[in-house]
Symmetry: C2
Subunit: 557 residues, 2 copies
Amino acid sequence: MSKSKDNELVFLPLGGSNEIGMNLNAYGYGPADNRQWVVVDVGVTFGDNSTPGVDVIVPDPTYLEGEDILGIVLTHAHEDHIGALGWLWPRIKAPLYATPFTAFLIREKLRDAGLLDRVTLHEVPLGGTIDLGPFQIEMVTITHSIAEPNGLAIKTPLGTVLHTGDWKIDNDPIVGERTDVDTIKRLGDEGVLAMVCDSTNVFQEGVAGSEGDVKTALAELIGGLKGRVAVGCFASNVARMDSVIRAAEAAGRRVVLAGRSMHRITAAAKSVGMLSDLQPFLSEEQAKHWPADEILYLCTGSQGESRAALSRVAEGNHPFIKLGPGDHCIFSSRVIPGNELAIGRLQDTLSDRGVRIYTDKDHPGIHVSGHPCREELREMYRWARPKIAVPTHGMRRHLAEHAQLAKDMQVPEAVTPRNGDMVRLAPGPAAIIDEVPSGRLFVDGGMLVEEAGEALRERRHAASNGVLIVSFAMDKRGKIVSDIDVRGLGLPGDEDSPLGDILDTLAERVEQVVRGLKGDALEDEMVVEQAVARALKKASQSVWDRRPIVETIILRL
Amino acid sequence: MSKSKDNELVFLPLGGSNEIGMNLNAYGYGPADNRQWVVVDVGVTFGDNSTPGVDVIVPDPTYLEGEDILGIVLTHAHEDHIGALGWLWPRIKAPLYATPFTAFLIREKLRDAGLLDRVTLHEVPLGGTIDLGPFQIEMVTITHSIAEPNGLAIKTPLGTVLHTGDWKIDNDPIVGERTDVDTIKRLGDEGVLAMVCDSTNVFQEGVAGSEGDVKTALAELIGGLKGRVAVGCFASNVARMDSVIRAAEAAGRRVVLAGRSMHRITAAAKSVGMLSDLQPFLSEEQAKHWPADEILYLCTGSQGESRAALSRVAEGNHPFIKLGPGDHCIFSSRVIPGNELAIGRLQDTLSDRGVRIYTDKDHPGIHVSGHPCREELREMYRWARPKIAVPTHGMRRHLAEHAQLAKDMQVPEAVTPRNGDMVRLAPGPAAIIDEVPSGRLFVDGGMLVEEAGEALRERRHAASNGVLIVSFAMDKRGKIVSDIDVRGLGLPGDEDSPLGDILDTLAERVEQVVRGLKGDALEDEMVVEQAVARALKKASQSVWDRRPIVETIILRL
């Protein structure tokens, strides 16, 4: 690929363009061999049952290491936008820029990672600007499901990019301002070269709905209930917390925060003047003997997370909160894909205790999404009128559908890069001009490791197939001089074939195999190991119809 | 609990009443110490990522072993109703009763399990009757998402139970008859003591919808497409297969079956005269060079199963079927909870190849559920007018909601047993009179093992935490006389701390620990092992912040 010596404006997603989550975007300006960069968002995604032992996954920033990064701008405080800072900042060191609520939570994250003293974090006011070399960045207030969400207008000598961040159009966002439509229209009038835009809900017709409507629905629902009420929601949705708290107050209920992130986000919200003019919260201890009709628990764990408040309540393990017949649990939250079974189990366990469950399926209106549906996307294209549409924040399917929608809105060009695809936005027509290393790094045992790394591969293999360990000592001539110790991990036995008997038989088999080897072979560790391993694999196949990991440990005396 | 000496009619769910799937129901008649039983359905449920190495889960039949079981009636051929026969029949030996299509598939299952010669399988005609001691059973034709679904009218001297099986009301079921409303109404007129009824869709208002409407929707959709068309659906839904095949024929497309169960079910369907008067299928090989506009693939794998046809097509690994830009994939299927991510990945991978995806979300009407929604449940209660409602086939939440719906329909009594709860239906008011052993058995390494068994527990632990193995030889006085071999399975290293270095350090630590032990302790294997394991666990915690399984193998010479 020929490298341009002229100034170019490029967009490089390293996360967020093959998935929903783990956002890491970079904008580069300059000639190919001397670009200056601005990074937008440094987020995580979360592991699941298919990645045992791996809870956190981050984008691979290798390409940006050593590049001239002028700054890292964080659009908002969701984990998929700021969660990887503690892991990746040491590799892409640059000053951080964020609005106050986001900055509060970033500071916590840096403190946990021991980075607070090393990182410069600039607090930018809402609607403020950041000057970074060729990049003039304007924070554009939008609405989303968190306090202080921002889009970015990134102005360069080659044109302006509108990076929407996560957004929807909420005309009654409860906390914070409405989407700054005037600014977006003004940017459109001035000319938007490219819009890099949220694709999450591109398969949903209509609009996402307003926090104001949720507030009304929650107030109505909670107002009509007797007995204890628990509400599960994302703590980061300060508007939702505000709505629940006010619904509780109107219903004569005191609010108890249950779960660490409820306290964490409350502190962040209060630091920027939100959640003020409210009755003080009751502590969990105080609430223990409070009248049932006068209490409301605001709980973490709406995704069925096993250690969060709601699961502990459901399992009867919560030290202070008990729910039972006549009580209520409202899920004012969405189901994150992959969490369906865990949430189902949580709701079922609560239901089994006699707790009545409310979700947005049976009570539409108690939750709305924070991402734009198709009608909102169309509206945004009408306002911004970009020359190039760059769908992001979606799986491939979402990006393709979003590109189609943009074309239907008469956007002249659309490009749907994968993570690692470098998109030239200007000069000339938009095009993918390079493919750089990209991927996911897994946080495994406190280390950042390759996605396809050996350790997880082995753990997965062990999870499905178990481990067979054989150890014995040999003298120099290849005579076995100890017991043959055969152990199974994760391998079953039953009444007909107790595990002990199976392992004894395998030990005999090992002895046979070794006895069957001739002089030279016995002196070569590798040969003995391989013969033993081969025999045990074969035997396992016939006993368990599976191939465990076989570890052969021969101690040579 | 006092045991009645009078004749009683009891209902005992051993599966299906804490979950959707794994149905095993028993009806008992007689005094407490001398009951005769009829078993209805013997189904499986499937493992998931939380049960690595366990694909199949069956109900624990222990309580019924050795009881006087007169017969096992299978209502229909879905795996959650017949799938456990191969595993459990040897424990609850009794003659089987099923209608012809179901019997065909049961025979295959028994053949696979090597049981065909040992089991008596009676084929019962649709609407036929079975006389089993005090139980007079009438097969009641219903509609569902499979060929030949049956409810059971179980008549006893103490009253009639209507066991609905899985059902919905479909007035245009495409294959088979409509729900036999006359019979159900007649049973209602004669008096239904109890109705044991499907709860799957109790949270859905309205009705499930008809296969006839799906047929129209699919014909319209497929009729308008150019390029290759693949349709993913459950093979067992013969009506759906019929609709797809006829839509293909109308659009001038030849049909190719892709996936083993498509062939299996087609054979079963043809054996009972279904799927007749159709053009012969093309083989995959024949279709390879067929014109794109004249082909339709009917595929397994709509749940994202990695080895099924659709996944292999998506990954580009299918030997004969290739899809690309301009081609289409229609998901005429539901999303089974737990499969969301796998299905999402499958659809995304296909989309990434340029294949257009159609699901019932964006194209309502191309799939309907096979289970009754609330309006259908109400209708059934109006027809059958049972004295007792016994919701089944649902999680606790579903059963509770269903009991409430039954009460709203003025059913005098409702009881929601858990698996293992024995419900007395007569005489006297319905009540749970006993709790018998119940649970789930896991098929693990070809053996039936306890759900909470050691093997799976170890594999799960290994999956999240890895395994550390240390082995060395000691002489009789406790002197280490070999190398200390330390190995990690599933434990990572990184650039700063390569795994080899970590393991070397751990080996040194083991040597220190052993050297630190005094004479007596050195002679006691257990003491040495525990000291070493303790030290390695502690060290692992500080290196990886986790607690691997530690296997300490000391070979005493």
